[in-house]
């Protein structure tokens, strides 16, 4: 991230999320937050710490461990004119609310011919890297991106952690926001004054001419680190932060492909039937003749995430694997 001189401020990703919540609660009386342990406990990842004291129990609502009921209640409250923000502890737990998310949030607007839009924001932690094993470490954002009717966002940078929530709340549609647990402690410069962000566009986080890296969330920083290494060897990677996984920003993705002619997709999800597969196919459909090499991808090993660090690390995309895949891609003769 480039720092702009003057007003920039150094904060963590977690603090950026909290500031965004605070701003949303302050700006709109229809906004309220609910989820497991968001109030007294301060959030299982401490994102919502101190909000209960600031906004009170009516708007910072601790829920029972009833994912289906409180996610469904968020959907119902949205139908009733409010702007709920629902927090689910991890995306693994969101599977307990899958009925409400897929059968209600994603369908009601369409089934009612537009009478029942569902302006709810559902935030959840995603991703691995903290040795939390196979029921707290998965990345289901690509899975949710399969569902028409949902909008899927994955803020990676401090600025997006701070700015995407407001954009999600402006949307009349259900927005699922995936916050990678590996990013929560990341510190960075928040560009100030804040500029309004959207949830429609991918962003080029590093410009380059030799290959395009498509990524999002925590994998973005593995790509940026790999790109720095590659630059030392004279390979300039363009790093695209997808930001929004549904709908995908085909325009910016293809623009980058047309500049570099080589594509490496880095996704912490599994490859089979996943987001990387969708991205690759879209590029084949829309920019096949621009490609100078087969599309490559670095994804998570097709296993439930294991507990021990050496196995977890081996399962996940790493900077080394990204560098290695990028070198092979650039070496491929067109």
């Amino acid at each position: 991230m480039s720092a702009v001189a003057g007003g920039d401020r150094r904060i963590t990703y977690r603090e950026a999320l909290r500031e965004a919540l605070r701003e949303a609660l302050s700006a709109d009386p229809r906004v309220f937050l609910m989820g497991e342990d968001v109030g007294r406990y301060g959030g299982c990842y401490a994102v919502t710490k101190s909000l209960l004291a600031e906004f009170g129990e009516e708007r910072i609502r601790d829920t029972p461990l009833s994912e289906s009921a409180f996610v469904g209640a968020g959907i119902g409250a949205a139908l009733g004119g409010l702007r709920p923000i629902v927090e689910i502890m991890t995306c693994n737990f969101s599977l307990l609310a899958l009925d409400q998310i897929v059968n209600n949030a994603a369908t009601l607007c369409h089934m009612s011919a537009g009478q029942c839009p569902v302006p709810v924001v559902i935030r959840m932690a995603t991703g691995a890297g903290r040795q939390l094993a196979a029921q707290h470490s998965h990345s289901f954002e690509g899975w949710y991106a399969h569902i028409p009717g949902l909008r899927i966002v994955a803020p990676a940078t401090i600025d997006d952690a701070r700015g995407m929530l407001a954009a999600a709340l402006r949307s009349p549609d259900p927005v699922l926001m995936f916050e990678h647990i590996g990013l929560l402690n990341m510190e960075g410069e928040l560009i100030e004054p804040l500029v309004p962000l959207d949830i429609d566009h991918a962003a080029i986080r590093r410009a380059g001419r030799d290959l395009t890296m498509l990524s999002y969330g925590a994998s973005l920083f593995k790509c940026l680190e790999a790109a720095a290494t590659l630059a030392g060897a004279g390979v300039e990677a363009e790093v695209v932060d997808l930001r929004t996984l549904r709908p995908l920003d085909d325009t910016r993705i293809m623009e980058s492909v047309r500049r570099t002619h080589r594509v490496l997709i880095v996704d912490e999800g599994w490859r089979s039937g996943g987001l990387s597969a969708e991205l690759g196919m879209r590029i084949v459909e829309q920019a096949f003749y621009e490609l100078d090499a087969p599309i490559a991808r670095v994804c998570t090993a097709e296993i439930p995430i294991p507990y021990p660090k050496h196995l977890e690390d081996a399962a996940l995309p790493s900077v080394e694997r990204v560098v290695s895949a990028a070198r092979a891609l650039v070496a491929h003769e067109s």
């Binding site: 309220f32 009516e58 609502r61 829920t63 029972p64 009833s66 289906s68 009921a69 409180f70 996610v71 469904g72 209640a73 968020g74 959907i75 119902g76 409250a77 949205a78 139908l79 009733g80 004119g81 409010l82 709920p84 009925d99 409400q100 059968n103 209600n104 009601l108 607007c109 369409h110 089934m111 009612s112 011919a113 537009g114 009478q115 029942c116 839009p117 302006p119 028409p148 009717g149 909008r151 402006r170 009349p172 549609d173």
Partner: protein, 330 residues
């Protein structure tokens, strides 16, 4: 429960209105069954025949600001709530003039102008929505309540238990209406629940829950009025267990192998239309001529609705992808 021999405690006008309301549903659905065999209505068609007293009894006790969440067997709820019959029939046909623009069909009727938030075809899936609609009323300092219909089959779903607990915990204005017709599709309550007492389960979450004779429109109406009064007064959620019976098949693909014909015939004698008509006639509130007139009026409305649906246009193909996302800011 109201004693069937007792003189009904209603005026002639009220009796005509309740009977007329039930007749509209009955005649509408009988025609739908016919239209189904003619392939005008497709998909699943779940008829409410035998349960009309529940929808009519409940709806007359609700106010315009109240929100309704119904099931996939919701034609009766929609009509009783005031969804125009033309829009309902056009929806059955899948026409663009339908209540849901034809996209929902029989199981997904929406009419937000009447705060009718859909037929939900996931058993138990509507309960959390009703909790949220009630939460919006409470946080918005409004006095509406959310009325949520579901069958006794939903009691086996986790969403029933999660939703009742959450509504009671937060003292939300929800009226849960369990239409206990004894069979979840073909599975009898006693074959799926270790404890078949629905009201007792609801009461265990700390809310008043009462069984009511769901075949008696006056009993349902009286119980609903009392429950709604308590809920609107800030007393938290309540549950009514309306004990009723589905006199026709679950859907149009049901050979009814799971129940005896004799059982159906026994319940038919307790049908909400026949018992209410008999009582009102015995009390001199209405005459056979009144009944004939109401039936004829309902038939006329149904035929007009069929004609409306027939002449309505299909949604153009270029609208295929509309409404997946909202077309306006909210």
């Amino acid at each position: 429960m109201t004693d069937a021999a007792e003189t009904p405690d209603v005026t002639r006008e009220q009796a005509l209105q309740l009977l007329g309301g039930m007749l509209r549903i009955r005649q509408f659905e009988d025609r739908c069954a016919q239209l189904y065999t003619e392939l005008k209505i497709r998909g699943f068609l779940h008829l409410y025949n035998g349960e009309e007293a529940v929808a009519v009894g409940v709806m007359q006790a609700l106010a315009p600001q109240d929100a309704i969440v119904a099931t996939y067997r919701e034609h009766g709820h929609a009509l009783a709530r005031g969804v125009p019959m033309n829009a309902l029939m056009a929806e059955m046909f899948g026409k663009r003039t339908g209540a849901s623009g034809g996209r929902g069909g029989s199981m997904h009727v929406f009419d937000t102008a009447r705060r009718f938030f859909g037929g939900n075809a996931i058993v138990g899936g509507g309960l959390p929505l009703a909790v949220g609609l009630a939460l919006a009323e409470k946080l918005g300092r409004r006095n509406g309540i959310a009325a949520c219909f579901f069958g006794e089959g939903a009691v086996a779903e986790g969403e029933f238990h999660e939703s009742l607990n959450l509504a009671a915990l937060w003292r939300l204005p929800v009226l849960f209406i369990c239409e206990n017709n004894l069979y979840a599709m073909g599975t009898a309550l006693a074959r799926s629940e270790a404890n078949t007492d629905v009201s007792a389960k609801a009461a265990s979450y700390g809310m008043t829950a009462l069984p009511v004779d769901g075949m008696d429109v006056l009993a349902v109406a009286a119980a609903t009025r009392a429950a709604v009064g308590a809920i609107r007064g800030g007393g938290g959620p309540r549950l009514l267990e309306c004990r009723t019976y589905r006199l026709r098949a679950h859907s149009m693909f049901d050979a009814q192998l799971y129940r005896d014909k004799a059982e159906v015939e026994e319940w038919r004698k307790r049908g909400p239309l026949i018992t209410f008509t008999t009582r009102c006639k015995a009390a001199g509130l209405i005459t056979e001529e009144d009944f004939q007139r109401l039936e004829k009026a309902a038939d006329g409305e149904v035929e007009a609705a069929v004609a409306f649906a027939e002449r309505s246009e299909w949604e153009p193909l270029d609208a295929l992808e509309r409404f997946v996302y909202a077309e306006h800011a909210t």
